[in-house]
Amino acid sequence: MESKRKWSQVPGALVLTLLLALSGCTAASNSSEANPQSTGPASGNSSEAGEPSTGDAAAEEPTEIRFFRVAVTQDPTKDRVLLELQKRTNTKLEFVTAPWDQQATKVNTMLASGEVIDVISMDDGAVDYIGHARNGTILPLDDYLKDMERYPIESMIAYDDVYQKFLVDGKSYGIPCLNQPGGGWVAGIRKDWLDKVGLDVPTNLDELYEVFRAFKEEDPDGNGQDDTYAMIVAQIFDSWGLMMRLSSPPVTWTENEDGSLQYTGTSEGQKASLRFVKRLYDEGLINQDVFTIRDRDYCLNDFTAGHSGIGFSPMWAKSLAEVKANCPEAEVELLFPAPHDPRYTNGATVNDAGWSWLVNVLPKTCRNPERVLDLLEYLNTGEGRKLMCTGIEGIHYDRYEDGVFYGISQEEQDKDWDPKDGEGPTGHPLWWGLTSTINGTIDFEAYPGDLLSAMQNCVTFVSEEDKADNPFYEQRKMICEVMAHELIDAKLETASTYSGKLSSISNEYQSRLILEPAENFDAIWDEYVEQMHANGLDEMYEEAGQWLKENGK
């Protein structure tokens, strides 16, 4: 019986498979015509731009836009904020997404395959932006941006000095996402713990060492158990690793005292940082599983749980509330760096000078560049920012005035997005990243031709409640004051070729420096520097030097 029934299924399934395969074949032959267009040779011309704008004709029909952004959780057909956005901009959005650690794979694959995609929020650190620009996989935007009436904000952003590095051979290929330095990360320390162990806020490495020792050994939380660390260190070597930046600035290139160029990763400052971390590791003053923790958030989680005394947060407004929920007595003081201290030894973090992180590019397959730029333009306006950060007036909040949202309705927000998805300070999960990572609005008109000042003087959004009692709500703005500047403000072509190998080498050698016996330290360091130079650093030096000669101030 049983086997008979199975027999009857087999031919059916066979037919199904064949049908699937057949339909696949036809699909392949249909779309093969489109292929040469999308993967054709790079010409660099922009004949598309010369064609008459289709914007007016399309005014009635919503323009379909396929938008890549990493880790989108919202559904544009359900989320009321996105529905409102589509209504206001007359678009029909479709999000293409990928998990955090796979975004480069996804973007590279999409661009290489030539599939239709209208705009990509590209991580220019992981994807070869220059290569794609030079080879014509992404569109030059100059001819569109000439229309200053239609794209006033975008044309300002694209050509401003701050974003010089996104111009390839003088042309614009993408609209950088507005961002404040360091993504807003800053270290904070438990003031109440310091008081308990009788120490002051550390200002140099020696004092910081004392804090690490006391927080580990002196039971600062007073529960009688040896269960505290000064700080949980995770993902120690990523470019944002706090511990690696203790004695060197957070930039790729600096100058030596004699004026020669210095790659920070092989500088004396980096060596000193590593020695410091090694000392902490050897003496058991930091967690021993630094090399195997994958989750960078672990540091902050442990801090907010009340088990460690130094945290590293992008949003203290939120982290403070969390730590207070676990330890009501907690007091937090931010560890600001002294950016003009030449030795960077204040014991805290100096923030990365990056003004950008993502860049919105329009691939060759973009169907309607004008309308995509319209959408991005709207997202950068005050109205657009208010909508994306907090929601719709009258639904998600009652009233907005000078950066303050009155009557934010948690109940309405929960209807549109999952409260567990970690939304920003004021609400919507897409507040960052579509065109901006500033939870606030920028008055572009007030600072014509001076984007830097405009960004430094942005209005940070805040809820009524936070404004009243949260000392850290303007964290990102505070950080603007304390940043280091990148010496080579350009994207180097050699960097996109060698960065993978160089970071692999530096990760390996730096972990060896920490793990292996102290007497080998200098020998390993020398070998490390040698390997870096032999595997691409020399080429990077050459290109960086060339750039400095041509563009140096």
Binding site: N108, L111, N135, F237, F291, T292, E493, T497, S503, R512
Partner: protein
């Protein structure tokens, strides 16, 4: 010609049966293979995958072979492959034989359940197990440290390969034994009965009946493993390793994944060249293993 036609007519149903699979291989394996040409090109974003723009001959291979980190990864791949075959294959056979000797059905089924289950976990989960289990401060290492012994960690170059093979064994030993168990179960019981009458002990039976009877299965699995094992293990290593053990744990695939990450410059071509190199080595090993198995009298694949 007529012979082909007759064969076609006679075996038409066999052709029909094999057609879907061949079609599948054609679509999902052979069509993408045109991309291999990139190994000989300076591929840049935007170029077509199926053309020969930017042909550079063997330059990508030169890049690769002049890189000592690549050779280190290659060496690690080989060492890990040898360790895997030498440890995991006998372990699976051993397990299958033990299981076949168990008479108590409840016990047998219990052991099978417990030892097969790890196979169903993905490497993501198994690596979380490993990282948690070998945490330097808790669990087993807490015990070791308490006795003054040095801890077992994933950052130890002397131990990393052993942990990798151990994890592999933990995950797949039971499940790999399934094939051998099914081969053992299909041995004619009469053989054992007559051996028992002749007075052979059970240990003796294993060596003179069980092992010879499943030789064909063992050799098949051996040849297949030899052919694929250099390319295997990306998922496992990628989820388990860390920079401290690149020296012993980095394999070709993980090395290429890390260094060709942003895919600028020559990276894409070099990555493809590495893949092609790996394939050629695997082909050589496979042919070698196949010749070996043929020499001892079994036709496995060709």
């Amino acid at each position: 010609m007529r012979r082909v036609l007759t064969s076609f007519k006679r075996d038409k149903w066999l052709y029909v049966m094999v057609a879907p699979a061949l079609l599948w291989f054609l679509i999902f394996c052979y069509t993408p293979m045109f991309g291999i040409g990139i190994a000989f090109r300076r591929y840049q974003p935007g170029m077509s995958f199926f053309s020969f723009d930017g042909f550079v001959g063997f330059k990508n291979f030169q890049n690769l072979f002049s890189d000592h980190f690549f050779w280190r990864a290659f060496q690690n791949s080989i060492i890990l492959a040898v360790m895997r075959i030498a440890v995991c294959l006998p372990a699976a056979v051993f397990m299958a034989i033990l299981l076949s000797e168990v008479k108590n059905k409840v016990f047998k089924s219990l052991v099978q359940t417990v030892t097969y289950i790890p196979h169903f976990l993905s490497w993501v989960v198994v690596s979380v197990f490993c990282i948690t289990f070998f945490n330097p401060e808790t669990g087993i290492n807490f015990l070791l440290k308490g006795r003054g012994l040095s801890p077992i960690t994933l950052t130890d170059n002397n131990l990393f390969r052993i942990i990798v093979v151990g994890a592999d064994m933990w995950k797949d030993m039971g499940f790999n034994s399934v094939l051998f168990l099914s081969a053992i179960l299909s041995i004619d019981p009469g053989l054992y009965e007559s051996a028992a009458i002749d007075g052979a002990g059970r240990g003796r039976c294993i060596f003179s009946i069980t092992l010879p009877c499943i030789r064909n299965t063992i050799l098949t699995v051996f040849v297949l493993w030899v052919g694929t094992i250099i390319g295997a293990g990306f998922d496992q290593i990628f989820n388990m390793y860390n920079p401290a053990v690149y020296a012993t744990g980095d394999i070709i695939d993980t090395y290429v994944y890390r260094t060709a990450f942003s895919m600028g410059g020559d990276n894409y071509g070099t990555a493809t060249a590495a893949g092609l190199f790996k394939s050629v080595i695997s082909l050589g090993l496979l042919l070698g293993a196949n010749a070996f198995s043929r020499r001892i009298g079994e036709e496995i694949i060709f």
